[in-house]
Amino acid sequence: MMFDRRLVQYFDWGLLGLVILLSGFGLTTLYSAVTAGGASPHHMLYTKQFMWYGVGLVAMIFSFLFSYKTIEKWADVIYVGCNGLLLAVLIFGKLAGGSQRWLLLGPISVQPSEIAKVAVIIILARYYSKYANDRGMSLKGLVTPMAYTLVPFLLIVNQPDLGTAMVIMLIAATMTIFVKIERRTLIGIIVTGMVSVPLVWFFLKGYQQQRIMTFLNPDRDPLGAGYHIIQSKIAIGSGMIGGKGFLKGTQNALSFLPEQHTDFIFSVLAEEWGFIGTTVLLLLFLFLILWGLNIAHGCRDNFGTILSVGVTALIAWQALINISMVMGLMPVVGVPLPFVSYGGSSIVTMMVCIGILLNVSMRRFLFEKG
C-alpha cells in the first residue's frame, strides 16, 4: 500500500506550496529580527532556524510516510511516552528564565510540551472517532477525554508554561465542540464554569489575584507587559500602509521590542512590511486553515476527519493567540507564531502538523471505493 502510485497522484502540492510561502515570509522576517541594529547577539539564530526547518522537513515526511491508520494504532504509546517526557522535564529539566521546559538530549534541548499538543490531538481523535454520535457527547462520555487533556495540561502548568497549557485546553475544547456535546451537558459545563470561577478567585491568594489581573490587563504593569504591548503597538502602527522597508524597522533595530525574534516577530513584520505585509500574512494563515478544514471535509473516515480538525485547530489557535497578543487584543502569553517565530520545537511541531494533514489528504482515495 505504501508504494501505491495514487499516493503520488493525490499528493497535496497546494498545501505544501502554501507552507513554503509562509516559511519564506517567516525566514525573511526572522532575518530582519536577528540582524537589524547590529548590536543583536542573535545572528547565528538565523542559520539555526534553517537547520530546524531541515529537521522539520524530515519530521514532516516521516509523518505522512505511514498511513494515519498506523498513527491511530500507536496513539496510546505516543500519548503515554509524551507524558513520560513531561514528567521527566519536571524532574530533570533544564531551568531557564524561572521555568523548567526543556529536556537536554545530548547536544539538543527539546520541549516536550510541544509534542504534547500533537499527542493530545491524536488520542482525542481516536477516542471521538469511536464514541462520537449525532446526539453529541454525554457527560459520562466526556470523562475520558477530560482526563486525557488534564494530565499533560497539569504537567505543563507546573513547568510553568501557561501559554502552551492554554493552547492544549483550547484544542481539546475545539475538538470536543466539533464532535458535538449534548445540549444539557454543554449547559451544565458552562454553568459549572461560571459558578466555579468566582469560587476559585475567592480562594486565590492576594498576589495570585494580582498576577491574573495583570495578565488580563497589561496596563496594570506599565513597566513590564504593558510597556511591551505599547512598544509592539507602536511598531505595528508605525508600519502604516507600505511599511518602513526590509531591515529598516527602528523599533526592532533599537531593541525596543521584547523577544523580537520569538513571540513578538509579528511586530517586526508589520513594521517593515506595513498593512500590505500583514494582510498577506493573515491571508496565508486563513488559506492554510481553510485548506486544513477542506482536508477534514474530504476525508471519509472519522479518525482522519477529527485528526485533521485538531491539527488545523492547533495551527489556527497559535496564530490567532500570537497575533491578537502583539496587537494588544489579548493577554501576553508566550505562544510563538507558527512558521515565523524562532524556535526548533515550534517549527518541528508545525511541520509534523502539515505532515499529518498531507497524510490524511493523500490517502482519501483509500475510502472512496467503499
Binding site: 513597566l223 505599547i230 502604516m240 493573515l282 475510502f367
Partner: protein, 636 residues
C-alpha cells in the same frame, strides 16, 4: 472500513465544518479590522511616536529599610548617590559633549571615552554610567549646564549610610554587589545587575525584609531625550524598617571596653532573649564597603590574625573553662553524685591512677562544699563530680543547656561548638574514652568548645529560673510609615528540667563568686546592686614542658599562647535584668581581664535602666490610681 461512519454521517460532519469556518471567518475579520485600525487609521500617530523612540522606561530605585536600635536611635539610613550617565543616542555630537562634560567636572575626556567604549550591550537609549557617586558639587555643575549637555543624565540612587561606622559592624553587616548566580536565583527576583544586597549580619539575614521593590516611570521624551510627559508611574516600595534589640549606648560601652583587645561581649535580657549588645573586636568600617573595597583593603581585612571579619560572639569557639562548672555542678546535684552537704578535701591536686590532676590553687582549698567549690572555682571538687557523673551524662546536661548546638539567632555562620561524648571520640579518633579526659571535661578544658552567645543564653537561663530563650536581634519589623509588620516575639527554646533546690544552690554559688569572702571575682563587685557570675581561664594550647625556645621566640609566641579570659554573669542577682558573657582572647585570667568588662557593661545598663524604671514608677504614682498598680508593673 468497518466503523466507517457507523454513527455519524458525512453530511452531518459537513455541517460541523461549516460552523468552524464561520468562526474562523469571524475571528479573522476582527484581526483585519485591528490591523487596519493600527496601521492605516492610527498609523500617523504611531509613526510619530516611533520616530524618536519616544516612549521609554525609567527605573526608580527603592530605598532600603532603615535600622534603629531599641530606643529608636537611627543606626543605618540611606543617602543619595549621584550617578553620572550618558545616553549615547541623545548625546550628539558625542565628542563635543564629552569634551564639555570633562571640562565641567575636571575629569580627563579620555577617561569618559574609555568608559563608554568599555561598556557593551547597553541599548543606545539607555544611559552608560561614566562615574558613580560624583558628589553634590559635581552634580550641581552638571545640572547648571544641563542644556549644554545633551544626553547627559544624573541618576539618583540611594546608597547605604552607616551612621556609627565601626560600631556594631558585625551585627549590622554590610552590602555587596549582586553576582550573576544570585541574579539567576529566585531569592533575588526583582533585582538587577549592579544592585547591592546584604552580604553580612542583619543586612544579609533580613535581606528580604530590608529590600524594597523597585518602581519605574513610562515617559515620553523629545528629540533631545528630555522628558516631555510622564505617562505612567509605578511607585517604588521602600523596604521595611528594623527595630533592633540592641541598646546603642550599651553597645558602644561594650565596644570601648574591648578596644585594643581581641574578644567579644554579648549581653542579653534574661526575660525574653533580646540581645542588648553584641560586640566583637577588632571590627571593620562598614562605610568602606559602600563604594566598594579595593583588593588590598579586602586582603588586609582577611589576613589580620585577630580576624576582624569574624563575629566572635557567634563564630568564635573557645573552651568554656571554669564557666563550665555551672553545668558540672548541676549534673552532679541532679544525678545525686553530690548534695549541699557533700565535702571533698582539696590538697591542691587529685590523683587518678598514676596521673595527678592539679587544682589551679597550688596550695589547695582544704575542705570544700558545693558553695565554696563554685565561688572559689575548686578544680579538685569538680574532678570528683565529673568522675561520678561520667562523660556521657555530663554531655546530656550540656546539651540540655543548648551547648553544642546553634542558638539559631538569625545571623549567618553561627558555630555549633562541641560537646564531646565517648561515642564522638570513638568515631572521630577511633580511640576509646579515657577516664582522665572526663576530669578535664568537668572543668571545661579539653575537647569542649562553646561560643559566647551560647554561654550568655545559659547564664541567662540560670538567672531567670531555667528558661532558655532563643537570642533575638530584631524587636520589630515596621513599614516605612511606622506600621507594625511583625513583632519579635520571644521564643522559648527549652526549659531546664532541674529541681528548685539545685538551681538555688548553683545560684548561691554564682553569687558567692562575686560577693563571697574568697570569691574569684570579688574585685568586680557592683555598687548598690548584687551581681552573680563565673570566671574562667581557658588554656589555649598545652605548652610542652621542657621544650627549649630562644628568648626572642619565646616573647613572640608568648602572647599567642596566653590563656583566654572568660566571665559570664547576670545582675541583679535576685531578679536579673541583664546577662552577659565576655571573652578576652589571651587575656589570661577571667577575674582580671573579663570580669571588669562585664561589671562595667552591667553597671552602665542598670544605671540607665534604673532611671527609666524609677521615672515610670513615679509617673504611675502621680497619674494612675492605686488599683492600676498591678497592671503597670506587668507592663514593665
Amino acid at each position: 472500513m468497518k466503523n466507517y461512519l457507523k454513527t455519524v454521517n458525512s453530511d452531518w460532519f459537513n455541517q460541523r465544518i461549516t460552523g468552524v469556518i464561520m468562526c474562523i471567518a469571524a475571528v479573522f475579520s476582527v484581526l483585519f479590522i485591528r490591523v487596519f485600525y493600527l496601521q492605516v487609521m492610527e498609523g500617523e500617530t504611531y509613526r510619530r511616536l516611533s520616530e524618536n523612540n519616544s516612549i521609554r522606561l525609567q527605573s526608580v530605585d527603592a530605598p532600603r529599610g532603615l535600622i534603629f536600635d531599641a530606643n529608636r536611635s537611627l543606626l543605618v539610613d540611606n543617602r543619595p548617590s549621584f550617578d553620572l550617565g550618558i545616553i549615547l543616542k541623545d548625546a550628539k555630537p558625542l565628542d563635543e559633549t564629552v569634551a564639555k562634560l570633562a571640562g565641567y567636572l575636571d575629569i580627563p575626556a579620555e577617561e569618559i571615552t574609555a568608559k563608554i567604549k568599555s561598556v557593551k550591550g547597553v541599548p543606545s537609549y539607555k544611559p552608560v554610567f561614566v562615574r558613580r557617586d560624583i558628589g553634590r558639587n559635581a552634580m550641581a555643575a552638571v545640572e547648571v549646564h544641563k542644556y549644554d549637555l545633551p544626553g547627559v543624565t544624573i541618576n539618583i540612587r540611594p546608597v547605604r549610610h552607616y551612621i556609627n561606622s565601626l560600631h556594631a559592624s558585625h551585627l549590622i553587616g554590610y552590602l555587596g554587589e549582586i553576582n550573576s548566580d544570585e541574579l539567576a536565583s529566585k531569592d533575588y527576583a526583582g533585582c538587577r545587575g549592579g544592585d547591592y544586597i546584604g552580604r553580612f549580619g542583619v543586612e544579609k539575614s533580613y535581606e528580604n525584609v530590608l529590600r524594597g521593590e523597585r518602581g519605574g516611570r513610562q515617559v515620553e521624551v523629545n528629540v533631545r531625550g528630555q522628558v516631555v510627559r510622564v505617562l505612567k508611574t509605578v511607585n517604588a516600595q521602600p523596604g521595611k524598617n528594623l527595630l533592633l534589640t540592641i541598646d546603642e549606648g550599651l553597645q558602644k560601652t561594650a565596644e570601648s571596653l574591648l578596644s585594643e583587645k581581641a574578644g567579644a561581649v554579648v549581653a542579653v535580657d534574661p526575660d525574653n532573649g533580646y540581645i542588648l549588645a553584641m560586640a566583637s573586636n577588632p571590627t571593620f568600617d562598614q562605610n568602606a564597603f559602600v563604594s566598594g573595597l579595593s583588593h588590598d583593603e579586602w586582603n588586609a581585612l582577611l589576613s589580620n590574625p585577630d580576624h576582624p571579619m569574624t563575629n566572635k560572639v557567634l563564630q568564635g569557639e573557645y573552651p568554656p573553662a571554669s564557666t563550665y562548672k555551672i553545668v558540672t555542678a548541676i549534673a552532679g546535684l541532679e544525678e545525686g553524685v553530690v548534695d549541699e552537704n557533700t565535702i571533698f578535701n582539696c590538697p591542691g591536686y587529685y590523683a587518678l591512677g598514676n596521673r595527678v590532676f592539679r587544682c589551679w590553687k597550688r596550695g589547695g582549698h582544704g575542705k570544700v562544699d558545693m558553695y565554696r567549690a563554685i565561688s572559689e572555682s575548686c578544680d579538685v571538687y569538680f574532678y570528683q563530680v565529673g568522675v561520678g557523673v561520667g562523660v556521657d551524662k555530663l554531655a546530656k546536661y550540656a546539651q540540655a543547656f543548648g551547648l553544642g548546638e546553634r542558638t539559631k539567632v538569625r545571623l549567618d555562620n553561627e558555630s555549633k561548638g562541641l560537646i564531646p561524648t565517648a561515642e564522638w571520640k570513638r568515631k572521630r579518633m577511633g580511640e576509646p574514652w579515657q577516664k582522665g579526659e572526663t576530669l578535664t571535661i568537668a572543668i571545661g578544658q579539653g575537647f569542649n568548645l562553646v561560643t559566647p552567645v551560647q554561654m550568655a543564653t545559659l547564664v541567662a537561663a540560670i538567672g531567670n529560673g531555667g528558661t532558655l530563650y532563643r537570642p533575638l536581634i530584631v524587636q520589630a519589623i515596621e513599614t516605612a510609615d511606622g506600621g507594625l509588620v511583625q513583632p519579635g516575639t520571644p521564643y522559648i527554646a527549652g526549659r531546664l528540667n532541674i529541681s528548685e533546690k539545685t538551681l538555688a544552690l548553683v545560684r548561691k554559688g554564682l553569687w558567692g563568686v562575686v560577693n563571697g569572702k574568697k570569691g574569684t571575682a570579688r574585685g568586680s563587685r557592683l555598687k548598690g546592686v548584687e551581681m552573680s557570675g563565673k570566671t574562667g581561664t581557658a588554656q589555649v594550647v598545652g605548652r610542652k614542658e621542657g621544650e627549649e625556645l630562644t628568648k626572642a621566640a619565646k616573647e613572640e609566641v608568648a602572647h599567642q599562647f596566653k590563656d583566654h579570659a572568660w566571665f559570664v554573669a547576670y545582675a541583679p542577682s535576685k531578679d536579673p535584668k541583664i546577662a552577659v558573657a565576655v571573652i578576652v582572647e589571651h587575656g589570661e585570667h577571667g577575674s582580671s581581664a573579663a570580669a571588669p568588662i562585664a561589671k562595667a557593661v552591667i553597671q552602665f545598663y542598670l544605671d540607665n535602666k534604673k532611671s527609666e524604671y524609677q521615672a515610670e514608677k513615679s509617673v504611675s504614682y502621680v497619674k494612675i490610681p492605686n488599683n492600676n498598680h498591678q497592671i503597670t508593673n506587668n507592663i514593665q
